[in-house]
């Protein structure tokens, strides 16, 4: 039943959502204040993250992923 599964705590989803937030949101330092991380690294990691989420997204789209605590 959906009641038990509405709150998604499955580990993969949690990590994807967490990484999406950490990498793309939050307080931003502009310009040359950010000195330690190359943009290309973040883009690469973002792409990897996106690719690994495709399968999960497909399952969710088709309603096949039943989310478990």
């Amino acid at each position: 039943m959906m009641d038990d599964n509405v709150v998604d705590r499955s580990k993969d989803i949690t990590i994807l959502e967490l990484l999406d937030r950490v990498l793309t949101k939050g307080v931003i330092l502009t310009g040359d204040l950010v000195i330690s991380v190359a943009d290309i690294d973040l883009v690469y990691l973002g792409v990897k993250l996106m690719l690994s989420s495709v399968e999960t997204m497909e399952q969710l789209k088709l309603g096949k992923a039943r989310l478990k605590e």
Binding site: M2, D3, V6, V7, D8, I13, T14, I15, E17, L18, L19, R21, V22, L23, T24, K25, G26, V27, I28, L29, T30, L33, V34, I35, S36, V37, A38, D41, L42, Y44, L45, K48, L49, M57, E58, L60, K61, L62, G63, A65, L67
Partner: protein, 251 residues
């Protein structure tokens, strides 16, 4: 060494408990953490090599873990991964220059959580159902275009018109779901952000900022929404730190 900033924390009175909580915690560079305080705002920082921080999954998770640990006790604004400056003095100067804006944002998110809602659907199937089920049989019937001699042209125009109308129906459908969510949340004094039609699979990507004590109300509202739209798949996640509601860019 450079200084990696994890979060900006509210409250000078929190310094003692904050420093105690940081004991033994380490960031992605495996260095210890400490605080830099400017009036009512403290930055949680750690040293990283001048060569930079590894940008990989484990490092990002380690970074997020520090924030997740602290938010159990403190109001904070999470920094985007990789936010670093060349010295502690630079960090303090940055807080000073942006003090009012940072403080306003901290007060905005005090005692609040962020939750995420993604609405998934099989949009091909949904479009087909829309075409078949609704009275839109009439709406989608090709109009009579008089005096057009070229049947190929007429067919093309009719096809485009039908596609446009179906697209319009999809947009209206998504807007109706968003309107329903907003009505539910209006009673909870929630701040909301929506992104629509991100892909064939994701109809809506929404985030909500609500008071901690209203979490169960929000959950109930989402459950009702799922019951009302059994053909959609709702993915509700949280609580998160207020990553999506940080409206400050540091200069």
């Amino acid at each position: 060494m450079d200084i990696l900033i994890f979060a900006l924390v509210l409250g000078r009175e929190n310094m003692g408990p904050l420093n105690a909580r940081l004991e033994g915690l380490k960031g992605p560079a495996e260095t210890g953490l400490n605080t830099l305080c400017f009036r009512e705002i403290a930055a949680v920082v750690g040293e990283i090599p001048k060569s930079g921080l590894n940008t990989d999954r484990d490092s990002a998770i380690a970074y997020a873990a520090v924030i997740e640990t602290l938010v159990q006790q403190f109001t904070l604004l999470p920094m985007r991964y990789g936010s670093a400056m060349e010295s502690e003095e630079a960090v303090l100067g940055m807080i000073g220059r942006n003090y009012n804006e940072i403080l306003d944002n901290l007060k905005k998110v005090e005692d609040k959580f962020e939750f995420g809602l993604k609405v998934f659907c099989d949009s091909v199937k949904l479009r087909t159902e829309m075409k078949e089920k609704t009275e839109a049989g009439a709406l989608l019937r090709p109009p009579v275009i008089p005096a057009v001699s070229a049947s190929v042209f007429r067919e093309y125009v009719n096809k485009k018109l039908m596609e446009h109308r179906l697209e319009e129906m999809m947009v209206n459908y998504v807007d109706s779901i968003i309107a329903e969510i907003k009505v539910c949340l209006s009673l909870m004094n929630a701040v909301t952000k929506f992104r629509k039609a991100l892909s064939e699979a994701i109809l809506i990507d929404a985030v909500f900022l609500v008071q901690r004590q209203r979490k169960s109300e929000l959950l109930d509202a989402i459950r009702l929404l799922q019951e009302k739209y059994p053909g959609l798949n709702l993915m509700f996640t949280g609580p998160w730190r207020p990553y999506s509601f940080v409206d400050v860019t540091i200069k």
